[in-house]
Symmetry: C2
Subunit: 357 residues, 2 copies
DNA sequence: TCGCTACGCTTAATCGTTTAATCAAGCGCT
DNA sequence: AGCGCTTGATTAAACGATTAAGCGTAGCGA
């Protein structure tokens, strides 16, 4: 084979073309002054040899690695595939690689993970913080994806509006007695979603909130949530703030003999992978991760570029390193599937034990 | 604050200590000859200033970036969190960072993704290939995590043995008529799991296989799998090769009024995040991702180090770049939860009318 | 004709680290 | 004293890219 064992570098390309390495660099980057004709020859040769600049050399000289860090503190977060995929895609389009760092649920390790990323020389960091964690001012440019109500948030889904979608959908179906299911009240995301739902409900509808984590602490992990009882009390719709909890609710109801959606409706959030695979398929609210990721990355790149700009030193004083996107919140979409249906049927069916309000 | 704006480098450290940069390098790496006393002084100063070597500089000189690539071709694979977390952890322990590359389910993009990783200068690549994809010989060291029956596989769970666990568990419970549920017969992993199950079954038990993807092509995506009918034909246990399909089966059965585990048992594979959260909690088979990741990474690092070793050129000819682990397959563990129960009850219970037992 | 600018390219310095080559000194031996 | 060997440090040359500065030539206005 004639394919060279080792990848060509600038100077090899240069000697082959009988020009200086600098010219090749200029031609390929379009920076300096190179005649169009020569530039074309250089580009051709580069393409022919499959030349790819060494990131190491470039990084050393420019101080930029073209790599971003992604830190996902929630252990085994089922959203991870969606997030990682979207971020990777957006970053890749912007010419960045993505280095992952997992802090395994440990809040203290989050700092360590960030530190390690910085030691690796990342140009910036995308953080999806653990619930409630406030991201301190790190040395590097940072984009935070959490919730609009988190201070220092860069961009995120409009969880509040997502909640409103759920509320209106259930209202339209005639539901008047809801159980909202969350995991932990310390999460900004979950609070926004629940707040959004509540904000749409007229005072005539009853809406109670069940927080799973406190409940489990009292009754043991994996315990029943007592949804059957709520159903018998008249609750016709169960709105969870995550598909994971929606799934739990759905199976618990089904197992207790409550028919979904005929007797009770269930909704979730995030459109996780299984939501469309189960029977009945889950009605949920999806976030536009593509857009969120794009916003985060573009906001981040702006900060990164401002970083190296020799500009006014004002920037050093004024410009925070945490990125600010132009669209700080991205609307969510309601995906109506089969776990929601008209409440009227329940009203008929309610009698067994409960009463109507 | 007295913390310097910019991180210290070798020469700064050197001039501060009135020695040469080379000596500092030697002292910190323990390579050259440096008096213990001086070495200690150097280490102390380095620690004091929080000196961290520039990866860029080092990479340029040594040709190694201390970064591995992780390519996950299956789009939004629900295993992703587990895999990424385990790999990241193992890699981190070995001093490597992990760069992710997602080929979004597109087989052609897998090659492109690998290419990009190589352009970024990764030292090696961990691939969890898309079903059936044979990983060609890339230029870089590679570790493949798929299934023992995949040629070129480095390490993976012992899917066959996992299947045997399921079979024996169901057999012990008295099940004699099974439906095995897979997605696509082209997957080595799924075939191994099914093969393992079958290998344990005496000829007296009936075991049919339902492949979802072909079935969906015939009946439309998200269609019913007709499990109720199978149940009525006498099937008492549904063994899926993935929790995702087990979940689908479980909800379909529950929705059709079949009680699990009283009337039918369901098992899955992989212990995905939701398996323990649903009701009833899913009996499944878990792979020891920690061990798999460790094996993959350590095998990979060996190849990487062999790479730079100036050894006999024999290695260039003989030594393949695909890593070989000492434990090529890692046993799986059965996690018995609530979706499996004795088959006898069904035999009794088969008539529609309910009783308790 | 002189001086100025624009063009197109080359020279050379630089980023931070590693490492082979070198060198000075000390010490034990013959 | 002279030779060889070890010890502990220094020098200098890479690695591959970017980029400011320099330099010869040509065009052009004064």
């Amino acid at each position: 084979m004639s394919t060279s064992r080792t990848r060509p570098n600038l100077s090899q390309l240069a000697t082959l073309l009988d020009v200086s390495a600098a010219t090749v660099s200029n031609a390929l980057s379009g920076k300096g002054r190179v005649s169009e004709e020569l530039a074309e020859r250089i580009r051709a040769k580069a393409a022919e040899l499959g030349y790819m600049p060494s990131q190491a050399g470039r990084a050393l000289r420019t101080g930029r690695t073209q790599v971003l860090g992604l830190v996902l503190p929630d252990i085994a977060n089922p959203l991870f595939p969606q997030i990682a995929q979207a971020i990777e895609h957006a970053a890749s389009n912007a010419g960045y690689g993505v280095l992952i760092a997992d802090s395994r649920g440990d809040v203290a390790m989050q700092t360590k993970a960030i530190q390690q990323l910085q030691d690796r020389g990342v140009d910036g960091i995308v953080i999806v913080p653990r619930r409630g964690t406030r991201v301190a001012d790190i040395g590097s440019p940072v984009a935070v994806i959490d919730s609009p109500s988190t201070p220092g948030n860069t961009v995120s889904a409009d969880h509040w509006q997502g909640g409103q979608l759920v509320a209106r959908h259930l209202l339209d179906l005639g539901h008047r007695d809801l159980l909202l299911i969350g995991n932990n009240p310390a999460s900004n995301v979950q609070n926004d979603r629940i707040g959004g739902i509540k904000s749409c409900l007229p005072s005539s509808v009853r809406a109670r909130v069940l927080w799973i984590e406190p409940h489990e602490e009292a009754h043991g992990k994996g315990c029943h949530l007592g949804l059957k009882e709520r159903f018998e009390e008249g609750v016709t719709a169960f709105a969870a703030v995550s598909d994971l909890h929606a799934l739990r609710a759905l199976t618990e109801l089904q197992g207790a003999g409550v028919r979904v959606p005929d007797e009770a409706s269930v909704t979730g959030f995030d459109d996780l992978i299984w939501s469309s695979a189960i029977t009945p398929a889950l009605t949920t609210v999806r976030m536009d991760m593509e857009t969120i990721a794009e916003q985060a990355i573009s906001a981040l790149t702006i900060v990164i570029e401002a970083q190296t700009a020799p500009d006014q030193e004002k920037s050093v004083l004024r410009l925070s390193k945490v990125a600010k996107a132009d669209r700080t919140s991205v609307p969510m979409d309601l995906v109506v599937r089969q776990t929601t249906g008209p409440a009227s049927s329940q009203a008929v069916k309610a009698p067994p034990a409960g009463d109507m309000e």
